[in-house]
Structures are given as structure tokens and as C-alpha cells.
Amino acid sequence: MEEKTLFKVALSLSLIGILIILIIAEQDTVRTKDIAIIKTLQLETKVKIKGTITKITDTPTLLILEIKDQTDKIKSIVYKEEEIDIQKSNMVEIIGTLKEYQNELEIEVSQIKIL
């Protein structure tokens, strides 16, 4: 294939690819689920929960939150990249990835919002 043709093909297809991924991204949402249901999902799934903070453990690099909703409770790990002002009894919405650490399920938080 000539270079000019390959270049035109590469440029066109990269723009089309970006457009398709943009459309997929628009549709790509995480729905809020009960913690009891979250615990049945596969590891590495992106999850969203709403609940109350019942316990906070502060370590040098992260915060470990215990979040409870009507169905169950789960640990959530928040890395201390920025200052976060949260307290026990705060109602929060969390988006993160379901992980397993030392035989216990937990959520590695990517977004946290105080409600």
C-alpha cells in the first residue's frame, strides 16, 4: 500500500474509531445497585452504591470506609490523592471497582460524592 493511501486510511479510520468510542462512552453508565447485589458480581466490575458511612479507618496512604445500605455493608478504599472531608454518618454515593483483598470484597473508589 502506498504511503499516502495508508496515511489517508489511518487518519480516516482513527477519526471514525474515536467517534464510535465517543458514542459508546455516552451510553456507558454505571447504575446504582444494592450492596448485596454488588457482592454477587464479578471482580473488576465497575459499581455504584449509595449508603451511609458507619466506620472510617485512616491510614497514611488511604481511608477505609465501611458503607452500609438497607441490604448489606462493604469496605471501600479511598486513596488519599486529595483532601477529602468526610465523616462517620455521611450519606455518600460511590463509584469504584469491585476487588478482593485477603478474602474480603471491597470497592476501590474512583469517585465519591457526599449526598
Partner: protein, 400 residues
């Protein structure tokens, strides 16, 4: 305990051989696997031993990853800039010499960065609080300077930066994809390079086993500059060895091809060592393997860090001998291999891995990233601008 540590180093070195020599298999992937399986491993060993395995693997990887970059034209993102000068030497029959230069850079840089570790321990916590609020703007300025430095076409450098950046922003914000970075980086730097190699119908000439002839003054100056620039870039997010190499080569003004290979070799190793120090001093993990170590260890003490650095030295010694041996083997074998079949096999392997790790959306990202990655060499633009795939999302994160 000593026996456990030595076994851990050897396992790490073995894993580093696999990741270093196989294009598309990155230490982040293996580190992630180790983390996923850590609940099982921790029944038999300690988190520190798992961290030593990852460290040994990471250091060995930085010594060996130039081999596929130069011999196969299939670089990992940290070795993007080694491809061109390394490939030029390969096509003249001096591929062995090119690898030795990068290994020389890696080994010298490791020793130097450990020797200067106490100074770096002192400096990083002083510098980081001053610059942390300006990281987004710093990244933008550095990216702009790198684009303005582009001799062929600044416009295309900017377009490539934004194409890769847009793809990075979209990919990293998708919720329902696992391991998005693998397909993104493999496409931009891996499969695109292999396709260009196929298109150019490269024929590798017979390789000579010769040793590099470089002035010690040049080598010392190159490694010193790489330590300075590599240290700063290592604790700024989004800036990897490729960007550090461009910045360092500006400071060195006219840099000969051989010195550039020493520079590239040294920067990837410095990046790894300084990342360990940054984790201890400012609690920031700046590359995938170090992020995994921070999760396994939870707290990194000074004695742990010293042990990890000592293990790095042991792994580096083994990796140096391995690099020399493997490169001699590659030099003899490369002309006997059908290069086209080899490239196609590697592309197939990367595609299968993407499908396994990230499903069909990963394949779409891989294909799109491959096409973006192809544009850079077709337009004679530096592939370092493709790092916009990480720099743009990180800049937006800090600024917005």
C-alpha cells in the same frame, strides 16, 4: 528469610525476561495478576516478598525491553525513542552494540540513582509541595514545548497529540472496560510499529558482535543529565522516560546516536528507581508496578525501601548478564527468522490478549490506537507525542 528473598529475586527476574522480551506483555499486567492472586500467595509468603518479585521483574524489564524494541521494531512506550537510533544501528549490522549501550545506561543509572538516593529523599518532599498545585499547567507547558520543538511539522505533532489525547480521555473514562491501558498503549506503540515494519519490508542484515566505542566524558555527562531530568519527570504524573529523553536531549544540545541510546536506557531504569523513592517520600505511585506494590505493602517503611533498592541491584546484575547473553543469541538468530511471520505473530498475540483482557471494546480501542500510532511515523513526527494519551487526561484531571 535470605533464601526467600533470593528466590523472590530470581522469580522476578524470570518474569522480567518474559515481559521484557515479549512485546505487548507489560510489567503492569503481570503485577496486576500478582495482586489478584495475592490472597492465595499470602498464605505461603509475606507482602514484602511479593513486592520484591515485582521490583526484580520491573528492573529486569527495563534492561531487556530494548531487545524487542530494536530487533523487532516493537517498542514498549518507555522505549519508543530507542527504536529509531537503535534500528539504524541494527540495519547497519550493529544491533548488539545498540543493546549494550542501553544496558550500560541502565546499569550506570541504577548505581548512580541509588548512590544519590539520600539527596533525592531530601529533595523530593521539598520540591513536590511547591509544584503539586501546578502539575497540570507544567504538563501542558512541557507538552507545548515538545510540540514546538518538532522539526518536521508542528501542526501534525499537535494533531497527533490531540488525537491520542482524545482517545486517552475517552478510554480512561469508560466504565465497562477492564485494563483499558493495555489496548491503548499496545495500539499506539506496539501494533502500529509492527505494521510500519511490515510495510517497510525490513530485511535485517547479518549482525556483528562489536563493543561500543564511546568517550567516557560523553557517557558520564549523558548519565548525569538523565539522572537530573529523570528524577523530576519520575514524580510528575504522565511524564515517562520518553518525554524525559526529549527534555534531556535538549539539555545535551548535540547528542550523538550512541549517547542517545545510553540516555534512553538510563531513563527507563531511573524512572523505576525514583518511583520507589517517591512512593516512600511523598506517598505517590507514578507507575503501574509501583501502584501495585503500594497496594500489596500498604505501608512502605525505610527498611523495606532499602531492601527493595538492594534487591534492584542484585536483579540488575543478573539482568545485565542476561541482556548480553540474549542479545548475542538474538543477533545470531534474527537473520534466520522470517520477519514478516514474526511481526504477524506478535500482532496476533497482542490482539488475543486484548480480547481476553478487555473484550470487544478493547479491540476497538486497539484498532483506533493502532491507526493513530501509524500516522506519526508516516508524517515523520516523533512518537513521543502519542503520550498525549496519558498527558491530556492527567492534565484535565489536575486543571478541571
Amino acid at each position: 528469610m535470605i533464601i526467600q528473598i533470593l528466590i523472590a529475586i530470581l522469580i522476578g527476574v524470570l518474569l522480567g525476561i518474559i515481559t521484557g522480551l515479549t512485546p505487548g506483555i507489560h510489567i503492569n499486567l503481570i503485577s496486576l495478576l500478582i495482586l489478584s492472586l495475592s490472597p492465595i500467595f499470602l498464605n505461603y509468603t509475606s507482602p514484602l516478598i511479593l513486592a520484591i518479585i515485582i521490583v526484580a521483574m520491573a528492573i529486569t524489564h527495563t534492561f531487556l525491553d530494548t531487545i524487542p524494541s530494536i530487533f523487532l521494531g516493537a517498542p514498549d512506550p518507555n522505549q519508543v525513542l530507542s527504536v529509531l537510533p537503535g534500528h539504524k544501528l541494527l540495519l547497519k549490522g550493529f544491533g548488539y552494540e545498540a543493546i549494550i549501550l542501553t544496558v550500560l545506561g541502565s546499569l550506570s543509572a541504577l548505581i548512580l540513582s541509588i548512590a544519590f538516593a539520600p539527596l533525592i529523599f531530601f529533595l523530593i518532599p521539598k520540591i513536590y509541595p511547591i509544584i503539586k498545585d501546578y502539575i497540570g499547567y507544567l504538563l501542558l507547558i512541557i507538552s507545548a514545548l515538545l510540540i514546538l520543538r518538532e522539526k518536521t511539522s508542528k501542526t501534525w505533532a499537535l494533531i497527533i497529540f490531540f488525537l491520542a489525547g482524545t482517545l486517552g480521555v475517552l478510554t480512561l473514562n469508560l466504565y465497562n472496560i477492564k485494563n483499558p491501558l493495555f489496548s491503548l498503549l499496545s495500539g499506539l506503540f506496539g501494533t502500529s510499529s509492527l505494521i510500519i515494519s511490515l510495510k517497510n519490508k525490513i530485511k535485517i542484515p547479518k549482525q556483528k558482535i562489536t563493543y561500543p566505542n564511546i568517550k567516557s566524558k560523553t557517557a558520564i555527562k549523558t548519565i548525569s543529565i538523565s539522572l537530573l531530568v529523570g528524577t523530576v519527570c519520575s514524580f510528575l504524573p504522565g511524564l515517562g522516560p520518553s518525554q524525559a529523553a526529549i527534555i534531556a536531549s535538549q539539555l545535551l544540545k548535540k547528542i550523538e546516536q550512541k549517547a542517545f541510546l545510553i540516555l534512553v536506557g538510563s531513563l527507563s531504569t531511573i524512572n523505576m528507581v525514583i518511583s520507589f523513592i517517591a512512593l516512600y517520600t511523598i506517598n505517590k505511585a507514578r507507575n503501574g508496578a509501583v501502584i501495585i506494590i503500594s497496594k500489596i505493602l500498604e505501608t512502605l517503611t525505610l527498611s523495606n525501601l532499602i531492601l527493595l533498592l538492594a534487591c534492584s541491584l542484585v536483579a540488575a546484575s543478573i539482568a545485565t548478564m542476561l541482556a548480553i547473553f540474549i542479545t548475542k543469541f538474538f543477533s545470531k538468530v534474527i537473520t534466520k527468522i522470517n520477519y514478516k511471520i514474526l511481526c504477524l505473530s506478535i500482532i496476533s498475540l497482542i490482539t488475543l490478549l486484548t480480547l481476553f483482557l478487555s473484550n470487544l471494546i478493547g479491540i476497538l480501542i486497539l484498532i483506533t490506537a493502532t491507526f493513530i500510532g501509524i500516522i506519526a511515523p508516516l508524517k515523520n513526527i516523533g512518537r513521543n507525542h502519542l503520550m498525549g494519551c496519558l498527558i491530556l487526561p492527567i492534565t484535565l484531571y489536575f486543571i478541571l
